[in-house]
Symmetry: C2
Subunit: 313 residues, 2 copies
């Protein structure tokens, strides 16, 4: 299958590598020049479950990809949320009538961007439990196991997704069809919509925040706003289950001492955050549906204030 | 007049010094041992508009004051908000039927604490534009001019305040009666209720915050909650005027590069903040009146989270 990995960061590298190993015709598209140069020269290197590998995969800068002759059967989207629209614009000549687009970005509401480029029937919305890291330009660190749930947003449902699921599973990516992908996406977004913004604004790890006597109140207020919006979209969210999952982030023995990805982006790497596609998406949808979302609104504003105060780019 | 200055920090030192210079019988009560020791040994020292002064004023630790034989005509309250109740408990033997209590603390709702000790007719609620600083234990820095507005909370109104106003004016403290003290208090609280908590949480000076593109939204949301509660208490708040005053805090040429007092308390000195008596008071009153105050609520919770994460005392 002819596959574009649109956004070849840590997760894109994992998917590109595994799909290439399974004999698909894969090209990577990214915007980080040093990363691209290294992969062109040495192949995509990775520590893949302890084994050193280097896969010779084609990679293009998104600014030079528009004239590449490649008719994609599948595009897998792995950009940062705010780069999604620009990426789709860059690769749109390679997207045809039969191209499926699988979106695995974190956050909510990306289909509103994607449907400007392909019909809903071509969009597969997914949620993945795979993890991945980059050790440097051109070099990934890929450990552990994962899975993908995905759903077709068109009326054809499962039948429009079966071929893609087969290809993903031949690459051992553990994909399965879901009839309720929005629920998984909202559930994951609740964890990101609390830990990410709060630990960033409070300059805190997850355990230190979780052990304050106001953590429960704050988290419940935010999650209840996500739940109200999710309900309006017929995505059921089990609030107690979500709250219990968030509390596992506070455990010092496991992940509690870590800082979430948004903290890394802004506080360590001085980059703009994805807050507009997590809490900010709840605010936009809340306005559309007439649902009050003050906690998400204030948190989104505070993170934007912090970005500007720090001069993030 | 026999006057207790309850809380002899920067502002208490100014008032104590000026009232003592005007030949009143003043005692200071405080909780900072080194400050007390220095004043006992050397008098209260100050750079007073450029002139070095040292006034020999009696000072007591609030833990040792309960047996002091002093029948106060006037108590001026200048503690931190969270220390108010403890201070009143310490000095209650010196408060009699005719003692007036003038409250000049920042924040909202202190009369709810004070009325546990004296009737409303003895309470004078005030707002002051005087400033003061401490250069170290026992040593104040007192520059510029100021004024006091005050109102009697009982039914006697102005007549119950006249003697006190005369004494304050003999000490050149520029006091005058107000029929609308709550409005001034709410106005000041709006400035504190935005700049203090926001600059603390964002680790920012006032200009850097004010220049972000979310500052207006955040500030307007918070001020509208203050205004709704103020209205319920018949304190008129001119929202446009308040917003304009807040914007003067962003001016880099004047005070914009400063950090507000709450930032100093928590981020520099690792002390607990007065947030419960500013935004937190709006939340409490909002609950009582059935007014929704999510921005004040979230900001109060965030500041408490930050206190706990930093281990403030």
């Amino acid at each position: 299958m002819k596959i574009i990995i649109a956004g070849a960061g840590a997760m894109g590298s994992r998917f590109g590598l595994m799909l290439h190993q399974a004999k698909n015709d894969v090209i990577l598209v990214d915007g980080w020049q040093e990363h691209i140069d290294n992969i062109k020269r040495d192949g995509l290197k990775a520590n893949f479950n302890g084994e050193e590998v280097a896969e010779n995969i084609a990679i293009y800068h998104q600014d030079e990809v528009s004239n590449v002759d490649f008719s994609a059967d599948l595009v897998i989207l792995f950009t940062k949320a705010m780069q999604l629209d620009g990426m789709l614009k860059s690769i749109k000549n390679m997207i045809g009538e039969n191209t499926k687009v699988l979106c695995l970005l974190n956050g909510i509401g990306h289909e509103d961007v994607i449907k400007k480029y392909v019909p809903l029937s071509s969009i597969l919305l997914g949620n993945t439990m795979w993890t991945a890291g980059l050790e440097g330009p051109g070099r990934a660190k890929l450990f552990g196991n994962g899975s993908i749930d995905l759903q077709n947003l068109g009326t054809d449902g499962k039948s429009a997704a079966e071929e893609i699921i087969t290809v993903l599973n031949e690459a051992k990516l553990n994909a399965k069809y879901s009839d309720n992908i929005l629920s998984s996406i909202y559930k994951k977004a609740c964890v990101n919509g609390t830990m990410n913004g709060l630990c960033t604004i409070l300059d805190s790890n997850m355990a230190d925040f979780g052990e304050t006597n106001v953590a429960d109140n704050i988290v419940e207020s935010i999650v209840s706003e996500f739940a109200a919006v999710a309900k309006r979209e017929n995505a059921t969210l089990n609030v107690d289950e979500v709250l219990a999952q968030i509390k596992t982030c506070y455990n010092r023995e496991t992940i509690g001492l870590h800082h979430p990805s948004m903290y890394q982006d802004l506080m360590i790497n001085n980059r703009l955050t994805e807050i507009d596609f997590i809490n900010g998406a709840i605010v936009r949808k809340g306005k559309e549906y007439g649902i009050s979302t003050p906690y998400c609104s204030f948190l989104t504003e505070l993170v934007h204030a912090k970005e500007q105060i720090l001069g993030a780019k």
